[in-house]
């Protein structure tokens, strides 16, 4: 009962946040509503007994990635006149919704054909740190290492890209 209510609250918040991201003109406003979406998603993860992912979502996504994005938005010192004039924004959004509708319908159909299952909080430390860690370092070791190399690459790339070069006018 409580779980269903919580689910609906979180779901509505997530959709509203996503809608706000798409609709707002200034990216700061969009970023803020996106943070709302991320936090409600974290709640949804908790409802699915994914304890570690819930924590990581809040720490990494909402905490690190979003703060990076917000920092860059503020760094660039965007004024209203810098933003693109999107007069036909509404038309485009409605048109895109129409275009995306079939994809959505297909995915709905696919989901509906799956067997149903009740949501109960799982015991046995399902989704806990120790369990995920064991899996990560035993079955998923190689991808783990490769992802770490990926992070290294992006670190170097970011430094190279945004480092001191002559400004190209």
């Amino acid at each position: 009962m409580l779980a269903d209510g919580l689910f609906y609250i979180f779901a509505v918040l997530a959709v509203l946040g996503a809608g706000g991201l798409v609709v707002f003109r200034h990216p700061m406003n969009g970023a803020m509503s996106f943070v709302v979406t991320l936090i409600s998603l974290a709640g949804l993860y908790a409802l699915l007994s994914a304890k570690l992912i819930f924590a990581l979502q809040l720490i990494v996504y909402a905490g690190a990635i979003m703060s990076l994005i917000v920092f860059i938005i503020m760094f660039l010192n965007i004024q209203t006149e810098d933003l693109p004039k999107e007069e036909t924004k509404v038309v485009y959004i409605l048109g895109s919704l129409v275009a995306v509708l079939p994809i959505g319908m297909l995915l709905f159909k696919i989901v509906r054909s799956l067997p149903d299952k009740t949501l109960a909080i799982m015991g046995g430390n399902f989704g806990g740190v120790k369990e995920v860690g064991l899996l990560l370092f035993k079955d998923w070791l190689v991808p783990f290492e490769i992802v770490s190399i990926l992070l290294l690459v992006s670190l170097i790339g970011a430094v190279v890209l945004a480092g001191k070069r002559g400004t190209i006018k």
């Binding site: 990216p27 969009g30 970023a31 996106f34 990494v60 994005i69 992070l151």
Partner: protein, 98 residues
């Protein structure tokens, strides 16, 4: 019951696509991509709950790591583009024309 999570994931994903193709602001486009990634994460976790295996959680972690790396690089590119043209409009960069 679990279907609702998946429906929500689909809705968020489609909203993300709409954001990518309907808006011209680079930040909005980028954050819509992040939205799509999150929708996929939700689907992963939901499926791992269905199958009662934690592989989905591991994959969700990988996705988050990739999203972080991509965020860093994309923002670096955005800064460079802003330095180049002074505008944040994707329509300004049309050298691929023709």
């Amino acid at each position: 019951m679990i279907h609702n999570f998946l429906f929500l994931s689909v809705i968020l994903f489609c909203l993300g696509i709409v954001g990518v193709i309907a808006r011209r602001n680079v930040f909005t486009v980028f954050m819509s991509i992040e939205l799509m990634l999150n929708a996929a994460n939700l689907a992963f976790v939901a499926f791992s709950r269905i199958h009662e295996s934690m592989d989905g959680h591991v994959l969700a972690m990988m996705v988050m790591a990739v999203a972080a790396a991509e965020a860093a690089l994309a923002l670096a590119v955005v800064i460079l583009l802003h330095k180049h043209k002074g505008k944040l409009d994707t329509n300004v960069f049309s050298l691929l024309k023709g």
